[in-house]
């Protein structure tokens, strides 16, 4: 099995690519012009038949795709850095919002793409880096969404009213009991933990730790309940949701809640791997959806929660007004800006994590769990961090999604959504950040623009029956993406270099390390070639995305 590649490593020649600065700028100008024109009905009206052609949903989807391809080109092509910067920043900060001013649906679409890009980046950590196939990923998205929506909608007032009417024991007494319970159980958990550190773990101590954990949960529930009872007096005051300026607090809260749920779900299931983990996470995702469907007091059941508020940022609103945006577009523009910042932060976190100890530990686990464990990688801890990190990205985006839609229901978080995000990760390339973002953009465009566009166009074509309308073939598309990518190009559209080598080498691990050792004699750092791959990736001066 330890076959060192007999031909020796292929010499790595730097790929010389033509400089495309001029071409890049040209494409940028043309596509931006097209986008701006095609979303401006006033101009289109004066253009006659060309205007009607541009209004065609398929053509429109094409124009949007072409425009977004700019950013990709800026990332991939060899061009002057200033040109890349102009194209990246210009596209995302100027042209898109400008076109969005004329057509709000474009802003909506871009936010949606970025939300899914963030989801895909999160899932990429779990699946692409740590190799844990999570089919219930959208559950964390739901957690983040519900965390905000319950409070920022009339739901919260109704919950308070319910507790006001069904107070049970007096609020203050329950609060006292709950607080004491929390203090005692938390204290004993810490004490047992200390014992574990000093003495051997026994069955009895494990059980009592678990028991104290249950007590802690019960205490927290009691405290929460009594707080709700005590606060029930202000039910009328929050009838329309809490103050919008809590948005920022909840931005942090939704991250923490989702990460916590990630840890809670991960603790029992991460002992499993591969297929079992996939099916268990699928199950837990469904469990969260079923809970959202049935806990009607908190989630309004299948009717869903609406209207969900967003942050109120007066200075941003006046800024938007000065730019000529309509009143109803303010919140979209705000969310667009927010989502841009968040995704930049997420990308930064991703890149840093990938190059950190944790990132290398994830890749080690993905490649061989047992070997990684033997090398001293703490399995459970590392996997939990992956789960929690992925979950926190989903949590924050869930909250932004809720604020954008102003309506959420359990149906927004079904299995198909999880698989959609998975297909983004796989289409783009597992483990590759740029690829995953590309995958998210392609799949979202496909779902929200191209398929509905085709559906609309084919609605009046007699030989395409309504049942086979392309607009409804989402499952077929997702499925075909998954199968085709796995069969034809398992590394994805924009592959992670290391992953490519892995999937295309006959003997997997041994071969690779052999290669690494042969290529550099002082290959001490080559054991974790993941670090190498990212440095390579980073060598390309990337665009702003």
């Amino acid at each position: 099995m330890t076959a060192v590649n007999p031909a020796g490593p292929a010499p790595r020649r730097p790929v010389v690519r033509p400089d495309r600065t001029v071409l890049l700028l040209l494409v940028f100008i043309i596509t931006s012009g097209l986008l701006l024109v095609s979303h401006n009905r006033a101009v289109l009206g004066n253009m006659g038949s060309l205007g009607t052609l541009l209004l065609n949903p398929i053509v429109e989807a094409l124009v949007v795709s072409l425009f977004l391809a700019n950013v990709l080109f800026a990332y991939m092509w060899k061009a002057a850095n200033w040109a890349k910067l102009i194209v990246g920043v210009g596209s995302l900060l100027f042209v898109l919002p400008l076109a969005g001013r004329a057509d709000s649906s474009l802003l909506d679409l871009s936010i949606q793409i970025m939300i899914f890009a963030a989801l895909a980046l999160g899932l990429n950590i779990v699946v692409g880096l740590a190799g844990l196939l999570d089919l219930g990923y959208v559950a964390f998205f739901a957690v983040g969404a519900y965390t905000w929506s319950i409070f920022a909608s009339p739901r919260f007032g109704e919950i308070l009213r319910y507790y006001g009417e069904n107070a049970g024991a007096t609020g203050a007494g329950t609060l006292a009991i709950g607080l004491v319970l929390v203090a005692v159980t938390a204290g004993s958990m810490l004490y047992i933990r200390g014992l574990h550190a000093r003495l051997a773990t026994t069955r009895l101590s494990t059980w009592s730790f678990g028991l104290a954990g249950f007590g802690l949960v019960a205490g927290i529930v009691l405290v929460g309940r009594s707080l709700l009872v005590l606060a029930s007096g202000s039910a009328a005051a929050v009838a329309g949701g809490i103050d919008p300026s809590f948005f920022w607090l909840f931005l942090a809260l939704s991250i923490m809640t989702a990460a916590l749920v990630g840890v809670l779900i991960g603790l029992p299931v991460l002992k499993l791997k591969g297929d079992y983990l996939a099916i268990i996470t699928l199950g837990l995702g469904e469990v969260i959806r079923v809970l959202a469907n049935n806990l009607s007091l908190y989630t309004a059941g299948s009717q869903g929660i609406t209207p969900i508020g967003s942050a109120s940022v007066p200075w941003f609103n006046s800024f938007a007004a000065a730019l000529g945006f309509r009143q109803d577009q303010f919140y979209l523009l705000f969310l667009y800006a927010l989502v841009l910042i968040v995704i930049a932060v997420i990308l930064l976190v991703n890149v840093r994590l990938d190059r950190s100890r944790i990132g290398r530990a994830w890749i080690a686990i993905r490649d061989d769990e047992i070997a990684a464990q033997a090398m001293g990688v703490p399995l459970m801890q590392t996997k939990l961090i992956a789960f929690a990190t992925g979950a926190s990205f989903a949590g924050v985006m869930g909250m932004i999604f809720a604020a954008k839609q102003t309506f959420i229901s359990p149906e927004s978080f079904n299995l198909l959504q999880s698989i959609g995000v998975l297909s983004m990760v796989i289409l783009g390339g597992m483990g590759s950040f740029s690829g995953v973002i590309l995958g998210a953009a392609v799949v979202t465009l496909l779902n929200l623009r191209i398929l509905p566009g085709l559906g609309e166009a084919s609605a009046n074509v007699p030989w395409i029956p309504q049942q086979a309308n392309p607009g409804q073939l989402q499952r077929l598309i997702f499925g075909s993406i998954l199968v085709a990518m796995m069969l034809l190009r398992p590394e994805g559209l924009l592959p992670n270099k290391r992953r490519t080598r892995e999937l295309h080498s006959e003997h997997d691990q041994e071969d690779e390390s052999g290669e690494g050792n042969a290529s550099g004699l002082n290959a001490g750092g080559d054991v974790y070639s993941a670090g190498m791959a990212t440095i390579k990736e980073n060598d390309r001066p990337g665009g702003s995305k």
């Binding site: 089919l135 029992p268 029956p465 499952r475 398992p490």
Partner: protein
């Protein structure tokens, strides 16, 4: 509520659960056969099985007005479903799994999910083109009657016995159990007593060595998929008979429950799949019944147990088994090495 009314109720629930359990058991066999040979969870099996249900529906629909005997119609439906599902499963293996046989474990798993999604939409479109979505089985006359209800019929002793213990069984439930038992026996015979079965078991143990002994492992894997698919076809028809209505998407729930059953019994083990199926059928029915209990006893809390919690129940069982006894009740553990 007193014991005299409660007891027949519980007996009914358990009998109903066992009937359901036989359907799950045969679906679970489809998972377990494939897993035993390839160590692959065939996610697409739930769609293969729903294809069987759709074929069964079509046969019953076409034969609706014919003069054929009801049992003959059922036989035709079963055979057609077996052929279509079996061939479909072989085709899936050939196109989607075989090229990936040496790929990392995650790869064929993702393909399987993809195939399952594709099949869902294909089935929906095929049936939708004829203006149908929910397919309601038109069973032959008498199938939905109470079993041995008539006084003094040929099965009088059994009928009397069932009446005394207060069990309601329909004729189709009895047919279902009989069909399930016959197919289980046949499968057991094929796997344990024939040359084909011997070859399949050899491939399951060690594909390379089996190849050295002159066994064509590709052929044997195809045969396994054929048998698994045929079982899926049978279970599809039985599922349709039992529940009355199926649609292109309804494979998910029974698929998950059957998978849980396969894991509960120990995936890869044939008796394990049957045991797991029966247990889960009963568990599921008991969870469903809690709702009724809640209403009967007037407790508001129990009343909130919704039908959708049945699915949660199956998942919790799955989580618990996988955590505490991942090899299942009858499974063998295998040691993993680097």
């Amino acid at each position: 509520m007193d014991l005299a009314t409660l007891l027949p109720f519980i007996v009914n629930v358990i009998v109903g659960g066992l009937v359901l359990g036989f359907v799950y058991a045969i679906i679970a066999l489809g998972y377990t056969m494939v897993y035993g040979v390839l160590q692959l969870i065939n996610f697409a099996h739930s769609e293969v099985f729903i294809t069987g249900a759709v074929v069964g529906f079509e046969v019953f629909r076409v034969l609706q007005n014919s003069e054929l005997n009801g049992y003959l119609k059922l036989l035709l439906a079963l055979v057609a479903a077996m052929i279509v599902s079996g061939l479909l499963n072989v085709l899936i293996e050939r196109l989607a799994y075989r090229p990936l046989r040496n790929a990392p474990r995650l790869v064929p798993l993702i393909t399987a999910i993809g195939v399952s999604l594709i099949l869902q939409d294909v089935l929906r479109v095929i049936e939708g083109l004829q203006g149908r979505f929910d397919l309601t089985y038109t069973l032959p006359a008498g199938f939905s009657d109470k079993f041995c209800a008539a006084e003094g019929s040929s099965c009088a002793p059994l009928g009397n016995f069932l009446r005394t213990i207060g069990v309601d069984v329909q004729l189709k439930d009895v047919i279902l159990v009989v069909v399930a038992l016959v197919s289980l026996t046949a499968l057991n015979y094929v796997v344990n007593r024939t040359r084909l079965g011997k070859a399949i078991r050899a491939v399951a143990q060690d594909r390379v060595t089996a190849g050295l002994m002159g066994i064509d492992s590709n052929l044997m894997i195809s045969a396994t998929f054929l048998i698994g698919g045929a079982l899926g076809g049978i279970s599809g028809v039985l599922f349709g008979m039992k529940f009355g209505t199926v649609n292109a998407y309804s494979g998910f729930d029974p698929g998950i429950i059957a998978f849980t059953a396969a894991v509960l019994g120990g995936i890869g083990s044939i008796p394990g799949a049957v045991l797991g199926g029966l247990l889960l059928g009963v568990i599921q029915n008991l969870i469903g019944v809690m709702n009724i209990f809640g209403n009967l006893m007037g407790s508001a809390n129990l009343g909130t147990i919704d039908a959708s919690y049945q699915r949660i129940g199956a998942f919790l069982v799955l989580v618990l088994i996988l955590i505490f006894k991942p090899t299942g009740l009858l499974g063998k553990s295998n040691v993993e090495k680097v």
